[in-house]
C-alpha cells in the first residue's frame, strides 16, 4: 500500500518541480502560487506514505536508506513550507522541490523491503535520535540551497547582466543572513542528535562513544560546521566564502549519510 502512495508522492513532486521551473522563466506569481499548492499536496501525500509504511512495518520507518532518504526529503519540504509561510521567498521552492524529487528518486532505486527491527534498535531513542538528526540535516540542506542561491545571485551582479533569476532571488545580504540562520538551527540539532546518539550507545554498548564510522562522520561534520560558524562570527567569513563553505559542508554531510547508511544495511542495521 505504501508503495502506491510513494509513487503518487514522487509524481506529485515531479509536477511541482516542473511548475517551479516554469516559474523561473515566466516570473508569474500565479504560477508560483500553483506550484506551492502542489508542493503542499505532495507533502500531504508524502506524510501519508510515511505513516502507511510505519503502520505496515509496526515501527517508525527510518531503519534503512530508502526510508531515511524519504524522511530526509519530507523534512526538507516541511521546513521549507514553514519558512515560506514566514519569509515568502518565492524562488526557494524552485530549489527545494527538485532536491526533494532527487532524494525520492534515489530512494526509489534502493531496496524497499520492510525489515523488522534488530534488537539493538528496540529503543525509544530511535524515535528521538533519528528524527532530530534528520531534521538537523534538513536545516543544513536549506543552508546549502541558500549558499547556491547566493552564488547564482553573485554571478548576476558580477557579470552585470541582470536578468533571469536575478529578480526572483533575495538580495545577497538576505541570502547570507538566511544561510547563517539555518546553520544556527542545524548545528544545535546536529549536536543534540550526537548527544542523544551517545546516550543510546551508552545503553546498548556501554560506551557513549566508540569511534564507529557513523560517530566519526557526524563528528567530522560537526567540526566543519563549528569552523564555519566561528569563521562567520569572528573572522568575517561572509558572503561568497561562507556560501561555498556551506555547500562543501553539506556535500560532506550528504556523502557520509549515503555511504554510511548503505554500508550499515547489513547485520548491524541502522544504528548510530
Amino acid at each position: 500500500m505504501n508503495f502506491i502512495f510513494f509513487h503518487i508522492t514522487a509524481a506529485s513532486y515531479l509536477i511541482a518541480t516542473v511548475i517551479y521551473i516554469v516559474y523561473l522563466f515566466s516570473h508569474n506569481d500565479k504560477v508560483v502560487k500553483t506550484a506551492n499548492k502542489i508542493l503542499i499536496l505532495s507533502f500531504l501525500f508524502h506524510s501519508i506514505t510515511i505513516i502507511s509504511r510505519g503502520i505496515e512495518a509496526g515501527h517508525f520507518p527510518f531503519t534503512n536508506l530508502h526510508e531515511s532518504l524519504s524522511i530526509f526529503s519530507w523534512m526538507i519540504v516541511g521546513v521549507y513550507l514553514l519558512v515560506n509561510a514566514r519569509y515568502h521567498i518565492a524562488a526557494l521552492g524552485s530549489f527545494v522541490s527538485p532536491l526533494a524529487l532527487l532524494f525520492l528518486i534515489t530512494a526509489s532505486l534502493l531496496p524497499k523491503e520492510i525489515v523488522p527491527l534488530v534488537p539493538q534498535l528496540e529503543s525509544y531513542w530511535l524515535y528521538i535520535h533519528v528524527p532530530l538528526a534528520i531534521l538537523g540535516n534538513a536545516f543544513f540542506a536549506l543552508s546549502f540551497l541558500f549558499g547556491i542561491m547566493y552564488l547564482i545571485q553573485e554571478h548576476y551582479l558580477k557579470s552585470k547582466k541582470v536578468g533571469g533569476l536575478y529578480f526572483l532571488l533575495p538580495s545577497l545580504d538576505v541570502l547570507d543572513e538566511l544561510g547563517y540562520k539555518f546553520l544556527t538551527y542545524g548545528f544545535p540539532l546536529l549536536t543534540i542528535a550526537m548527544i542523544t546518539g551517545a546516550i543510546w550507545s551508552e545503553y546498548v554498548w556501554g560506551s557513549y562513544w566508540s569511534w564507529q564510522p557513523r560517530q566519526i562522520w557526524s563528528l567530522i561534520t560537526w567540526f566543519l560546521y563549528a569552523a564555519l560558524l566561528h569563521g562567520r562570527l569572528t573572522v568575517g567569513w561572509r558572503g561568497r566564502k561562507a556560501a561555498i563553505y556551506a555547500i562543501i559542508g553539506f556535500m560532506v554531510l550528504l556523502g557520509s549519510f549515503l555511504i554510511i547508511n548503505l554500508l550499515s544495511l547489513g547485520e548491524h542495521g541502522f544504528l548510530r
Partner: protein, 474 residues
C-alpha cells in the same frame, strides 16, 4: 642579583604572553577544527584496532610500517590526535577567559544618555518630529516611548537631560554568554572523557544458567537465572533477554531482566547483553533409555538424568550419573584425551558413570548421532542409549565502569543550554532621545542586535511605526 631575577621574570612573562597570544587566536580555532575534521577521516579509511599482522597483510610491509609508526591503526589514541585535542581545549579556555571580563563589563554597562549622532549611526535608526499641537511635550512622548518598548518586553532605564530625555532599553543580555557556556560545556565533556579513560574499565563475562560468577574488579557476584530469546512472527530474533541477580556477601541484593538496550547497573558497573549461546562443556539434562541387548528391545520408559545428579534406574540395581559433555566430540590419539573440536553442537557426546549397587562399573561415552557403537555396560545384558539432551544456555555480558560518564552528560546539558542562549536569545539594545525643538519635540531612536539582523529590522520597524502612529494621533 635582583636585576637578574627581574630579567628572568620579564623573560618568563614575555614567553607567557606569547603562549597566551598563540592560543588566543581564532585562526588557531579554525586551523584546529579543520585539521581535526581532516585527520578524523583517516580513522574511517584505515581499520582501527586490528592485530598488527592485519596491516602488514592489507598494506604491504613498507606502507604498514608507516601506518603503525604514525599510529593510524589506533589514531584516536595517537599522540598527534591527542595534541590536537589539547590545542583545541587550550584554545577554547584562553579565548573564553580572554574575552569574558570585557563582555561581562559591557553587559552591565548601561549608557542611557547618548548623543543623537550616536543613535543616527546605529544599524537601525529613525528620527521624526512631533508638533506641540499633537501633544509633543518631552514628558508625555518619553512615557509613550517607554510604554511601547515595555510592550516589546524590553527592560528600561531613562533619565532627564537638559534639553529633553534619554531612554535606554535592552533585552536578551544572556544571549551574549551562550558561546561561553558552550565552551565551558565542551571542556566539561573533554574532562569527563579523560576521567573515563583513566579510571574506567571494560570487561566481558559469560555465565551459564543458574551459575554465579565473580564480577571482575568488583566485590560482588552475578548469577544468571534464565536466558531466553523473543522472536518475531516471521521467525527473526526480536530480543535477547537475561534474568540476572546480583549477589553480595552471599545474599541476593538485586534482580533484573536485561536485554539489548536495557542494562543492569550496580555500584557504578553496567552489565550489557552482548551475546549468548549453548555451553560446549556441560548440559542441563540428558534423556536416556535402557535396552535389553539379547532381545534387542527397549525396557520401560526413557528417563531424564540431570547434570551431576545420580539417578537410579527403576526396576534395576543400576544407577547413572551424568558427568561429562562435549559439543563436538574429539579424541586425541596421542594424549588419549577427549576434547571438543568446536563450540558448535555438531557431534554431542555425554559421559555417564554407571553404578551397580552403588559400585561404579563403567564410564562410557554415548553419542547422540551414533547410538550403540560401543557396549556401554560390560558384563550385563543392558545397554544405554542417549536419546536427547537439553543444553545449558549461557549469556555473554559486557561490563563497563566509566566514572566520567555523568560528567559528560552534565556537559551535554550545559551545552544544550548554551546553544539556546547563543542561537535563540538575541541581545537587543535600543536608545531613544527626545529633544525640545522649536514647535514640538524631535525623537531619535536607534537600536542594534548582536546577530540575526533581519529579525531585528522587523522588530525595529514595528517599534518606530507604533511610535509614529501613537504620538502623532494623540
Amino acid at each position: 642579583m635582583e636585576k637578574i631575577e627581574k630579567q628572568e621574570v620579564k623573560i618568563l612573562q614575555t614567553i607567557g604572553d606569547k603562549i597566551w597570544a598563540f592560543f588566543n587566536s581564532l585562526k588557531l580555532t579554525l586551523t584546529v577544527l579543520l585539521s581535526l575534521a581532516v585527520v578524523s577521516i583517516i580513522g574511517t579509511v584505515v581499520e582501527q584496532g586490528k592485530p598488527l599482522e592485519f596491516y602488514a597483510k592489507t598494506y604491504g610491509e613498507r606502507i604498514s610500517s608507516y601506518v603503525l609508526t604514525l599510529g593510524f591503526h589506533d589514531m584516536y589514541h595517537a599522540w598527534w590526535f591527542f595534541t590536537l585535542l589539547v590545542f583545541l581545549a587550550a584554545n577554547i579556555i584562553v579565548c573564553t577567559i580572554d574575552r569574558f571580563p570585557q563582555k561581562w563589563k559591557a553587559s552591565l554597562e548601561k549608557r542611557v544618555d547618548v548623543a543623537p549622532q550616536f543613535i543616527k549611526n546605529l544599524g537601525n535608526s529613525a528620527s521624526f518630529t512631533v508638533n506641540t499641537i499633537n501633544g509633543g511635550d518631552v514628558f508625555s512622548v518619553k512615557n509613550r516611548v517607554i510604554e511601547i518598548l515595555k510592550k516589546k518586553r524590553y527592560k528600561i532605564k531613562n533619565t532627564d537631560v537638559s534639553d529633553g530625555a534619554a531612554v535606554f532599553a535592552w533585552k536578551g543580555t544572556a544571549g551574549r554568554f551562550g558561546s561561553d557556556i558552550v565552551h565551558v560545556s565542551l571542556i566539561t565533556i573533554l574532562t569527563g572523557a579523560i576521567i573515563g579513560s583513566f579510571f574506567g574499565f571494560k570487561d566481558y563475562i559469560s555465565i551459564n544458567e543458574n551459575e554465579t560468577v565473580n564480577a571482575p574488579k568488583s566485590n560482588f557476584q552475578v548469577r544468571l537465572d534464565k536466558f531466553w530469546l523473543d522472536y518475531y512472527e516471521s521467525g527473526e530474533i526480536k530480543q535477547y533477554n537475561s534474568q540476572l541477580t546480583v549477589v553480595e556477601n552471599g545474599k541476593d541484593v538485586l534482580s533484573k531482566k536485561i536485554w539489548v538496550n536495557e542494562p543492569l547497573k550496580y555500584k557504578g558497573v553496567w552489565f550489557y547483553q552482548s551475546n549468548y549461546g549453548m555451553a560446549y562443556d556441560r548440559i542441563k539434562e540428558a534423556r536416556l533409555v535402557l535396552k535389553d541387548k539379547k532381545k534387542n528391545q527397549i525396557i520401560g520408559e526413557p528417563f531424564v538424568v540431570k547434570w551431576l545428579e545420580p539417578f537410579k534406574i527403576p526396576g534395576t540395581n543400576l544407577a547413572v550419573n551424568l558427568a561429562g559433555f562435549v559439543s563436538d566430540f574429539g579424541f586425541d590419539e596421542k594424549t588419549k584425551q577427549i576434547y571438543p573440536r568446536s563450540p558448535e553442537h555438531n557431534n554431542p557426546a555425554i559421559q555417564v558413570i554407571v553404578y551397580d549397587n552403588e559400585k561404579p562399573i563403567s564410564g562410557p561415552w554415548l553419542f547422540l548421532n551414533y547410538p550403540e557403537i560401543f557396549a556401554t555396560i560390560p558384563n550385563t545384558n543392558y545397554d544405554l542409549i542417549f536419546m536427547g539432551y537439553q543444553g545449558l544456555q549461557y549469556t555473554g555480558l559486557s561490563m563497563t565502569k566509566d566514572p566520567g560518564t555523568n560528567i559528560v552528560w552534565i556537559g551535554s546539558i550545559i551545552m544544550a543550554l548554551g546553544f539556546i542562549l547563543a542561537f535563540f536569545i538575541f541581545n537587543k539594545k535600543v536608545w531613544g532621545r527626545i529633544q525640545k525643538a522649536e514647535n514640538g519635540v524631535d525623537i531619535y531612536i536607534g537600536g542594534m542586535i548582536n546577530k540575526n539582523k533581519i529579525m531585528f529590522e522587523r522588530e525595529f520597524s514595528e517599534i518606530t511605526a507604533c511610535l509614529k502612529t501613537e504620538v502623532t494621533q494623540k
